[in-house]
Amino acid sequence: MYIFKLAILTLFLSVTSAQAEVPLPSISKGQGDSCVRATDDMRYNHMDYIQHHRDETMYRGIRTEQDSLKQCVTCHAVKDDDGGYINATDKRHFCSSCHSYASVKIDCFQCHTDTPRSTDIHEPLAQGQ
C-alpha cells in the first residue's frame, strides 16, 4: 500500500513539474542562408566572438563585419506585424528570445542599439546636408 501511494505521488509530481516548465523559445530566422559561423558553435561561443571583436574594433580599429555586434543586430532584426523593428525589451527580439528563456541578462543593449536604423548610413552627411 505504501509503495502504491509513493507511485501515485511520484506520478502526480512529474505531471505538475512538466506543466510548470518554461516553454522553449521561438527563435526567429536571420537573413541569408546561414550565420557567419555554424549555428551550434554560435550558440555556445557567440559571446566570446563578439567580445574578441569588440576589443579588436575599439583598440585596433579593425572594422570587419564578421563577429561584429552591429552585423548580428542587422541580420537578426525581427519586425512586428506593423513592420517596425522589435526592441530587446520584447521577448520576440532574436537575442531576448533565448536570453529570457535562459535567464541571462544582456548588457550589450544598455549602450548599443538593438535594432538597425536608416541613420546608421551616412546619408545626410554624404549629401552635404
Binding site: M58, Y59, G61, I62, C111, H112, T113, H122, L125, Q129
Partner: protein, 256 residues
C-alpha cells in the same frame, strides 16, 4: 645595390610621389580631396605612423554658426540628434563639442571657437582613470572603453578642457557606430568610425562643405598633409600649452 633593386627603388619613389600629389588633389574650386594616401583596409589595425589632428582657424569661424555642433549631434546621436536626456539639466547633458566665446579683456575683442576633446598626446583623463577605460588609441585618438568605465568621473575632473560628459539617463535608439549608455563618460571620438572608413570627422566635413572652412583634419605626422603644411606655414596654438599635454587639436587666431 643591384640594378633590379635600383629600378624598384625608382618605381617606389615614383609611386610615392604620385600618392603625395594625389593627397591634395583639387576636384573643384573649394572642394579638395585630401588624405587619399591614408586608405586602410577594414581588416588592418591602425598604426602609430599617423597622428590625427584638427586645425581650427577661428577667424573663419562665424560667431552665430553652430554647424560643427549640429553635425556632431546628428552623427553621434546626442543633443538634438537624440530623443533622450529629457530629465537632465542643460549643464548635465552631453556636450561632445560646444561653441565657446573668448574675449580679450584689454581690447574687448571677442571670438567664438569650437571646443571639444583635444586628443592630447599625454591625456590627463587616461592618467587618472582607475579602471583603464580611458585610453589613447595608437593613432592619437583619445577614447573611453565604456565596457569597463565605472562612471567615477575622475577623467571629467582631470580634463582641463571640460571636454567630457556623463550620461545620467537610460538611452535608447543610439547610433550603431556610436554606442552611448547610462553611467558612463563620453566625449568627442574624432568620429573614429568615420576616420577608420577614410572619411573626415562630421564637424570638419560640415564646416568645409557648407560653412566657413575653418577646420582642417589630417595627419600631423605626415609633413605633406594639408594640416601639417598649414601648421608649418602659418603656425597654430595649443590651448593651455603650458600644461605640456600636446593636444592634437590646434587653433589659429588666438594668441597667448
Amino acid at each position: 645595390m643591384s640594378e633590379k633593386e635600383q629600378v624598384n627603388l625608382t618605381r617606389r619613389n615614383l609611386l610615392g610621389g604620385t600618392a603625395a600629389a594625389m593627397a591634395g588633389l583639387t576636384i573643384a574650386p573649394g572642394i579638395i580631396l585630401v588624405e587619399t594616401a591614408q586608405a586602410k583596409p577594414k581588416d588592418q589595425p591602425v598604426t602609430d605612423a599617423v597622428r590625427w589632428g584638427i586645425l581650427i582657424n577661428i577667424n573663419n569661424c562665424a560667431d552665430d554658426c553652430t554647424g560643427c555642433v549640429d553635425a556632431c549631434q546628428e552623427e553621434n546621436g546626442w543633443g538634438k540628434g537624440s530623443s533622450d536626456e529629457s530629465k537632465s539639466r542643460p549643464d548635465q547633458k552631453a556636450q561632445w563639442i560646444r561653441k565657446v566665446k573668448v574675449t580679450d579683456r584689454e581690447t574687448g575683442h571677442a571670438k567664438t571657437l569650437p571646443m571639444m576633446c583635444q586628443h592630447c598626446e599625454s591625456p590627463p583623463c587616461v592618467d587618472v582613470c582607475p579602471t583603464g577605460a580611458s585610453y589613447k588609441r595608437i593613432d592619437g585618438i583619445v577614447l573611453v572603453d565604456k565596457h569597463i568605465c565605472i562612471g567615477c568621473r575622475y577623467c571629467m575632473m582631470a580634463c582641463p578642457y571640460k571636454a567630457r560628459s556623463f550620461i545620467h539617463e537610460t538611452l535608447t535608439d543610439q547610433r550603431s557606430y556610436a554606442p552611448r549608455g547610462q553611467g558612463t563618460v563620453e566625449s568627442c571620438t574624432m568620429c573614429v568610425h568615420r576616420v577608420d572608413d577614410d572619411q573626415q570627422p562630421a564637424c570638419v566635413e560640415a564646416c568645409s562643405s557648407t560653412f566657413n572652412s575653418a577646420m582642417i583634419f589630417g595627419d600631423l605626422n605626415d609633413p605633406e598633409s594639408k594640416i601639417s603644411k598649414e601648421l608649418a606655414r602659418h603656425g597654430g596654438v595649443r590651448i593651455r600649452a603650458d600644461l605640456g599635454l600636446n593636444p592634437g587639436v590646434r587653433y589659429q587666431g588666438i594668441y597667448g
